[in-house]
């Protein structure tokens, strides 16, 4: 049975055609679908399928449970009924409106929604949709618009989400008080007071910067929940939405996780409009596009998809859009969650998309041809696609001069290697390859270990785990004493352990180096992957010394080489060698980086002229351009 399971996992999905569901029903599925339930292998069909892949399929039966829908519970009855009633009313009204508008043509039919022309009916439906009077958040304000004759209207907005000043000053004041100042000129050149029409309201009476017409309840509720104010008029089947967003927002401050000493210090906040603005300030080009998508049935969270039309590959944009729009979930509350839903390999150790808190980094990636996802209520931008080398880069590398920017990168690469390899190498050398240690050091270690009761690997693991413990404790402690605790704890712990002869001093040194090196890795998510790798390599080195260590490193390498992030190999541009981008581990002088990285497949490959510093007498002569770009 186990053997069959092994087979089953390695077989391609097409062969699931000949598998049987326990309980008698044959089950087939189109290629690529996932199976639920137990599986059996029908050997006869297996071989027929093997020899003749075009063997026919069998009919399919399924139950609701297979489709992932949970059956209805009794308590949900009344709610479902009320919702259904509302929807039914809406549908009926919609049909009525459509029939009424049909003679007027397609344009009129588009405008036919499910609002009735009676204001009270609309308001009643709105109230029941929003569960008033239990729900105290929706505010409904009656008013009269000062046209001739005065029209009854209603302003609705959500308490807390809408800016009340704007509503008072620019909606209510404008409509109630200032509308009667307006005149219209009729065909005879006579002035007279304004009569009411939606168009008049939108064009002449309502000083809101974004106004739009809404035709059905769904749009109205979406607008309300977004912070808009909705105006419903007596006798009109159209509602007007005015943008009055005014919810409390954190002000732009320093990014918490990515610091740059020499560079801008603004970071993203929780409102995606502000974030998009921060990015747009750095890319003042009309080709920068922000598409707004919504995710989550319950959360309806906005996700801004930013890219540069003309540079970003359209396939990439389409793929990202497809993945985000295809999500049918209840709540996605943060970019971390969104990332997990749309990643290529959610079980991989390393992140497949980059999260950054800095707008300058986001803008840089956008200009290279990546796509950025900015989610509302989340102070992070998600960049796709990403390669492994981006995890070791910071924005600061670009702001520093030539040898020093790349130098920092080399340090980080070295830090990565150190933090992953050092504990494993120590264990391998001390336990298996004792001839590698210089004799004096070896004798010193032997003498300090004579009193220690634990084997080397237990020492290393114990110290590593306690280091992780200290780190986690330091994060969770209230921020006032957080950093101090970390320092004190590690010092005291280490010293006490050595004094008590539980740990030998060299192990403390090893673990300290490892821990410090792990802090040098800029990406927070990669840090977790690194820790996992470290323990894995420690285990392999424990069993077979350098042989095991080499095997573990090779396995990790193959694993990383096979990862893809939105179709881009994870280890590009180093492997496979792609183009002239030397920007992975080192960084050539900025004026030499003329091409965009090829692994993103940008439409416009060149980002700089060949010779930029033309004023410099030491710079090479620019090549002769005989028309067109190279």
């Amino acid at each position: 049975m186990l053997l069959y399971r092994l087979f089953a996992v390695m077989m391609p999905h097409r062969w699931y055609r000949i598998l049987r569901v326990r309980g008698g029903a044959s089950y087939t599925c189109a290629p690529g679908k996932r199976l639920t339930g137990e599986i059996d292998v029908n050997l006869r069909q297996f071989w027929t399928q093997l020899l003749d892949p075009s063997a026919g399929t069998v009919t399919q039966t399924f139950s609701l449970a297979d489709r992932g829908r949970t059956p209805v519970v009794e308590e949900q009855g009344p709610t479902l009924l009320a919702d259904a009633k509302l929807r039914a009313e809406g549908v009926v009204t919609h049909i009525d409106n459509l029939l009424a508008a049909a003679p007027d043509g397609a344009k009129a039919m588009e405008k036919a929604g499910d609002l009735s022309s009676r204001l009270d009916e609309n308001v009643a439906r709105l109230k029941s949709l929003f569960r008033m009077p239990e729900n105290k958040d929706l505010i409904i304000r009656d008013l009269q618009i000062a046209t001739q004759p005065p029209t009854r209207a209603v302003v609705c907005f959500m308490e807390g989400l809408a800016d009340k000043t704007i509503i008072n000053d620019h909606i209510m004041q404008a409509l109630m008080l200032l509308a009667h100042l307006d005149h219209h000129v009729d065909g005879h050149g006579e002035h007279g007071p304004t009569t009411f029409s939606i168009e008049t309201v939108m064009q002449r009476l309502l000083p809101g910067h974004q106004v739009s017409e809404k035709y059905d309840m769904a749009a109205i509720s979406e607008g309300l929940l977004g912070g808009d104010s909705i105006l419903l008029f007596e006798g009109q089947q159209t509602a007007v939405a005015v943008e009055t967003k005014g919810f409390p927002l954190r002000s732009v401050s320093e990014p918490k996780t990515e610091q740059a000493i020499q560079g801008p210090k603004d970071g993203f906040v929780e409102g995606f409009r502000v974030n998009v603005a921060l990015v747009r300030r750095r890319l003042k080009d009309p080709r920068v596009v922000t598409e707004v998508l919504k995710v989550g049935r319950l959360s309806n969270n906005y996700v801004a998809l930013m890219y540069i039309d003309g540079i970003t590959s359209p396939k990439l944009i389409a793929e990202v859009r497809r993945r985000v729009e295809g999500l049918k979930v209840d709540v996605i509350s943060g970019s971390g969650m969104l990332e997990q839903y749309i990643e290529d390999s959610p079980f991989s150790i390393f992140p497949g998309m980059l999260t950054t808190e800095r707008p300058d980094r986001t803008a840089a990636y956008l200009s290279e041809g990546h796509v950025a996802l900015l989610m509302d209520n989340s102070p992070y931008a998600i960049i796709a696609p990403v390669t492994f080398w981006s995890l070791l880069q910071t924005a600061e590398d670009y702001y520093l001069r030539f040898p020093f920017g790349p130098f920092l990168r080399y340090i980080r690469v070295a830090a990565f290697l150190l933090t992953v390899l050092v504990p494993a190498m120590y264990v391998a050398v001390v336990n298996y390859h004792q001839e590698m240690i210089p004799t004096e050091l070896m004798l010193f270690i032997a003498s300090s270990r004579e009193l220690v009761p634990l084997p080397t690997v237990v020492e290393v693991i114990a110290m590593d785990l306690s280091f992780e413990l200290i780190r986690e404790a330091g994060t969770r402690i209230p921020s006032v004493i957080g950093p101090t605790i970390g320092l004190v704890a590690s010092l005291v712990l280490g010293q006490a352990a050595v004094e008590a002869k539980v740990i030998s001093p060299l192990v403390i040194l090893i673990i300290a180096i490892t821990g410090l090196a792990s802090f040098a890795i800029p990406n927070y998510l990669a840090g977790f992957g690194v820790r996992a790798l470290r323990f894995f390599l420690l285990a392999t080195a424990l069993v077979l010394g350098f042989y095991g260590l080499a095997a573990g490193v090779f396995l990790i390498l193959i694993y990383m080489a096979g990862l893809r992030s939105f179709g881009v190999p994870y280890l590009a541009p180093v492997a496979p060698a792609m183009g002239r981008s030397a920007d992975a581990t080192g960084r050539p002088p900025l004026f030499n980086m003329e091409m965009r990285p090829a692994y993103v497949h940008p439409l416009d490959k060149r980002r700089q002229e060949d010779v930029v510093r033309t004023w410099d007498p030491a710079a090479p002569k620019p090549p002769d351009k005989k028309g067109g770009r190279s």
């Binding site: 186990l2 399971r5 092994l6 089953a8 996992v9 996932r34 001390v430 336990n431 298996y432 004792q434 001839e435 004799t439 004096e440 070896m442 004798l443 010193f444 270690i445 032997a446 003498s447 300090s448 270990r449 004579e450 009193l451 084997p455 080397t456 002869k501 285990a539 424990l542 069993v543 077979l544 010394g545």
Partner: protein, 420 residues
């Protein structure tokens, strides 16, 4: 998907989990091993070897411990101890020692192999296969022949300036770079390579413990400068270990001892001589000496004529001299006297070289390496082996000329005025 993977993962985990469960076969902690720093070989009773092992004591080596306060662990000052066993092979010796020590004996950190002279002359390095085959022994182990028994040498060894014997051993050979009184390299690797290829006969370090007293006969050769054998140096006090000169081998057997002066000449002819202090008898006043530091000049040039029944070799050594000291009033910084000094140095060196070569020819051992030059004249290995250079060398007609140019004279011009 996760459910299917679980089965696979469990299967793989069980399969690979066998490894750590069955035990890590080679894993050992450092404190479970007893590391041998040096090995001494002598002829034991009958045809059996007498093996002396110098085993390190880690605690004493580390200079006491923090937890122990002053004055390291139990007993002795020495950070090692010696143990001697009689065994037919080194492997059996290790087994026997393991019967007395709770830690597993390991040769991984062995630095030097000391062989008694009698064993070296009698059977030579007939165990060299073991040192190149056994994985614990490295080919970079130093090979030293001791005057007398190796066991006595190791027992009596008292470096004084170092407490750490392995450091002492490691650095013993480094001085040759500056004094030129030791062969260029004496490791198992060089030994085995030279023996198997046969272009040159091997030389090894030769060490001895200073004998107390008994240096009356040494007065006869007091003018020998450094031409002493190890163990006979005219000195008292200080560490009792003397290592200079070399033991000359023919094949794997030792055939003679070279003095410090002879090995310097040999190094000059091998182009490995860097610099050294020389005391030349003053040409006009034979009772006094002129001290000069000689450096290597141009590379050694050799012309070989293998035509006749005896090989004819003509060589030229070029050296540069720096005047260090004169004893007396003669001003050797003056140009015409410079030439005199140069020719004096030349004469002295040429006579020393002639003696050295005669000695090696007497031992029938081409330790100098003329064979490397001779082989150029043969197209194939078979022709070379047919010629049989080692035997032909004993009758060769060798003439080496030396040319010395005095370059500098220190930081003084004429010698100080003396009132004698």
């Amino acid at each position: 998907m996760l459910r299917k993977l679980t089965g696979l993962v469990v299967a793989l985990a069980l399969a690979l989990g066998v490894l750590p469960l069955a035990g890590c076969w080679d894993r050992s902690e450092l404190e479970e091993r007893a590391f041998v720093l040096a090995l001494g070989l002598d002829r034991g009773k009958g045809t059996v070897l007498e093996v002396t092992m110098m085993i390190a004591l880690p605690k004493a080596m580390a200079g006491g411990d923090k937890g122990g306060g002053g004055g390291g662990g139990g007993g002795g000052d020495k950070p090692y101890f010696l143990t001697t066993v009689q065994a037919p092979t080194i492997g059996s010796a290790v087994s026997l020692v393991n019967a007395a020590i709770n830690r597993r004996v390991s040769l991984l950190h062995m630095k030097a192999l000391f062989m008694g002279e009698s064993l070296a002359r009698e059977s030579g390095m007939y165990t060299m296969d073991g040192f190149t085959r056994f994985r614990q022994a490295r080919q970079s182990i130093m090979y030293v022949v001791t005057k007398g028994r190796a066991a006595d040498f190791l027992k009596g060894m008292d470096p004084k300036i170092e407490t750490d014997p392995q450091r002492f051993i490691e650095q013993l050979a480094y001085n040759s770079r500056y004094t030129g009184m030791l062969p260029a390299a004496s490791q198992i690797h060089t030994f085995v390579t030279t023996v198997s290829t046969g272009y040159i006969e091997p030389v090894t370090y030769y060490a001895a413990l200073k004998e107390e007293g008994g240096d009356e006969d040494a007065t006869a050769g007091l003018r020998k400068e450094v031409g002493w054998e190890a163990g006979e140096l005219p000195r008292t006090g200080g560490p009792n270990i003397e290592m200079l000169g070399a033991a000359a081998f023919r094949g794997e057997r030792m055939v003679g001892v070279l003095t410090g002066g002879e090995i310097r000449m040999i190094l000059m002819m091998q182009d490995r001589f860097n610099q050294g202090f020389f005391a030349i008898p003053d040409p006009r006043q034979p009772e006094l000496f002129v001290s000069a530091e000689l450096h290597r000049g141009r590379p050694f040039r050799l012309e070989l004529d293998l035509g006749g029944d005896k090989p004819r070799l003509r060589g030229l050594i070029t050296l540069e001299a720096e005047l260090l000291a004169t004893q007396g009033q003669r001003d050797y910084t003056a140009p015409h006297l410079q030439a005199e000094l140069e020719s004096a140095i030349t004469r002295e060196l040429e006579s020393r070289i002639r003696e050295t070569i005669r000695k090696t020819q007497g031992m029938k051992a081409d330790v100098i390496g003329f064979g490397y030059q001779a082989v150029r004249q043969f197209p194939t290995v078979r022709a070379w082996e047919a010629y049989n250079w080692p035997d032909k060398y004993a009758d060769a007609d060798v003439e080496i000329t030396v040319r010395v140019v005095m370059r500098r004279a220190g930081i003084r011009l004429r010698p100080p005025k003396m009132r004698d």
